[in-house]
Symmetry: C2
Subunit: 458 residues, 2 copies
């Protein structure tokens, strides 16, 4: 028997039918939502407890078998693919909300709880969990990739909304980071180290997250601009003015067109901003008025307001569906997602240069973005099977990354590195990438945790 | 010649008179503000550039000579003492504000810039840097210890207010972490790793910090309560209600008495809350009214308002001077600072148990705290030279730490570990402390960076 067979037998003995090498399970866990070719694992495990995850890690690291965490499979840079086989640890059966403490505005959850499930659970408490990457991702996956999304401009990212973690290390040791106290100054910030480590240092088996009070009042709106420049400059002025926007999203005219198509809307053929204001009744009114004045200066028109919950939900569902709607609107094309983030003062330059270059390429590339954070995405859509378009699209993506760095920004605002962006790591981090590698080697000397992602030589 | 002599000659050749082994320089850098016995370094270096710091690190790590960073020497757990000698790197000559970018609300500074110096520099921009630990500490030191203070309840700690760092590693390599973009998802969060690492992983040679808009309106106030319970429960209710307090500080009656003594005040002999509200004119009025209603429910009386800048400044100067005023008020006593932080719902229990135990001990122990964060300090004051009181005071401090952990909190909200709190690290972090040690060993295999602090076996 090989070491792998022995290891798999041991996991089988532990999990029974919750450990499988079936083709269908392997196939499902070998796919990603973006352009990467399928890379299935050798087996899939569905643990139900930290103890089981720890036992799996001990078995696999002892045998040098890769371990890949899996939440909902919605990451966009191939984070959860298995380029070297191994065992995918699917957290869908660790999906309990363990504890909600409204008096401390925190909740502890297992990693398989999705953001929507948590918010459903919180409904009666008057609290909510704000981080919203669009997809109904698992909180474990969101922590592992340092996710953010539409509300980060107001409420922060996973970095700012996780107080503590339980993590299973490569060798099966279980550590707990952080406490329920609002702050701490007791040594290295291990919580922050694991957030964004993309499963390369350990598997998150529990999270304690910060909750926020449901605002007394919420209003959403959409408005159109004559041109992209006006929309982006309105965002810059709004952020610089200090209006505490809850959401401020850019949508280009191409995206507006397929929003209409997918959701039966009637947005004009123009760039738009999608907005949300949170606060007291008077605070929301004040914010909306101040935003209105700024936006008008930059040529905004046709404001449409959504105050009823269902209207707001419909609006954000349309935004969240942007990626899938674009794929439907451009059939026969293979998506390359991009995700750059720049200082707010450089946003206009970054968006406009990108839009011009995409237009000149002849390849469809609608742009949407969490522009209040300086973060935007072009969805590049070269023709499936057209090697030349593919190369050109890759060059556009590389130019975007270079542009972000030139303007003092980062090659990923929120999607992460995975397999797709390792090529930019040396350029963004220099010697810091080697420091990441040294930390990786210290915590996972066998290199079993999510190999092939994020780190050089991983 | 010993390796040390050779190394010191090399640093002398580099820095000239900015490298000294004079007794007075060694003495100054061998003292701390709290109870630790003096532990002077062998020499003190005053670099003026990152290149010089890098060269010093290369020389020292090659010879196994300890390297200790020094900002203003205001840390409270012996962080900057030199228990194994070595070279203290004093950053007072790296004190330039390198760049202020109001359009991105960020500034880049050298580590020796103090928080007051930065805010003076920012005065004309309408922006400010909010983190305020009381002492006019250096920003490098504040980052190294993950400092916070009176305003963290609203603006966060150093963790949330630093976007990026330049760090010189033990072997002299220079890395840059973070960018000027508001968020990033490109690998391990090295910025957060170095913040709070207390000089054990590297020396911070540059910081990019977030700035905040000066609020349109600010109001401060003090109010008295019949008893501690009322004051603390008012804080809990205020935080739970979501009022965005800019400051909410607890001061017990003993502290109020020495505030009066040191600053000529006439506060009644009662526990107090010190408050500050930031926002628009109407927002501040609304917050103050809402707070007033809550506080009244818990027996607050005698509100005194400070709206003029000089009155507000005088009020916070009094608070910032609390530590020194207490030492003056209790002559012949040796201070033990404490610094626990608990979930907000446990604050009353934590403060009351602590106060009762201190009262029963007969040792003076005034309590103040950044209670909006669940963080408070008892300043234990055993008689100098009284071994029995010293032991009892140490037991009180240890009980506070145990209490914090029992209530789901942390043994340090903001002062850090240094030499003083290593004894609690295993209890708070369990196996996580070993993980910190593994990271330390990976980045500083010779163990030259601030030995004797934070880590087991360091």
């Amino acid at each position: 028997m090989t070491a792998k067979t022995t290891a798999f037998d041991a996991i089988s003995a532990l999990l029974g039918s919750r450990f499988t090498q079936s083709q269908s399970d392997r196939d499902i866990h070998g796919r990603s939502e973006s352009h990467f070719a399928p890379m299935p694992p050798d087996a899939v495990a569905y643990p139900r407890s930290t103890e089981e995850v720890s036992a799996i890690a001990k078995i696999c690291s002892g045998a040098g078998i890769p371990l890949i965490g899996w939440g909902t499979g919605t990451s966009l840079e191939g984070h959860a693919l298995a380029p070297r086989g191994g065992v995918t640890v699917d957290f869908s059966q660790m999906d309990k909300v363990l504890d909600v403490a409204p008096e401390d505005m925190v909740a502890s959850v297992q990693p398989g709880v999705t953001r929507e499930a948590l918010n459903t659970e919180l409904r009666a408490t008057g609290l909510f969990f704000p981080v919203d990457p669009g997809a109904n991702a698992s909180l474990g996956g969101m922590a592992a990739t340092r996710a953010s999304g539409t509300t980060a401009v107001r409420y922060g990212t996973m970095k700012t909304n996780v107080l503590g973690l339980e993590v299973v290390l490569a060798d099966g040791r279980v550590i707990r980071t952080g406490t329920r106290a609002p702050k701490s100054s007791t040594g290295y910030d291990l919580t922050s180290l694991f957030i964004g480590s993309e499963g390369t240092l350990g598997l998150i088996t529990e999270l304690t997250v910060k909750l926020h009070g449901q605002p007394e009042a919420m209003r959403a709106a959409v408005c159109a601009f004559d041109n992209m420049e006006g929309a982006v400059n309105a965002v810059i002025a709004t952020i610089q003015s200090g209006i505490p926007m809850a959401r401020i999203e850019f949508v280009d005219s191409a995206s507006a067109a397929y929003f209409n198509k997918s959701s039966g809307g009637d947005w004009p053929d123009a760039p738009h901003l999608m907005l949300e204001f949170h606060g007291s009744e008077s605070g929301v009114a004040e914010q909306a008025a101040r935003f209105g004045e700024i936006a008008e200066d930059f040529g905004a028109q046709g404001f449409r307001w959504a105050e009823k919950t269902e209207d707001r939900n419909a609006l954000w569902a349309m935004r969240h569906n942007a990626y899938r709607a674009a794929l439907t609107a451009y059939p026969g094309r293979r998506p390359i997602t991009t995700d750059i983030c720049v200082p707010i003062s450089k946003l206009a330059e970054a968006v406009e240069e990108t839009a011009e270059e995409i237009a000149a390429s002849g390849i469809p590339g609608p742009i949407v973005g969490h522009v209040g954070d300086g973060n935007f995405h072009a969805l590049l859509l070269p023709l499936e099977g057209d090697a030349q378009e593919w190369e050109r699209a890759q060059a556009l993506a590389a130019n975007m990354a270079e542009r972000a760095l030139r303007l003092g920004g980062t090659v990923s605002g929120e999607h992460g590195i995975g397999m797709g962006k390792m090529k930019y790591m040396a350029r963004e981090h220099g010697e810091g990438w080697a420091v990441m590698g040294a930390i990786k080697a210290a915590l996972d000397p066998e290199g079993v945790m999510n190999p092939g992602k994020l780190l050089a030589g991983n």
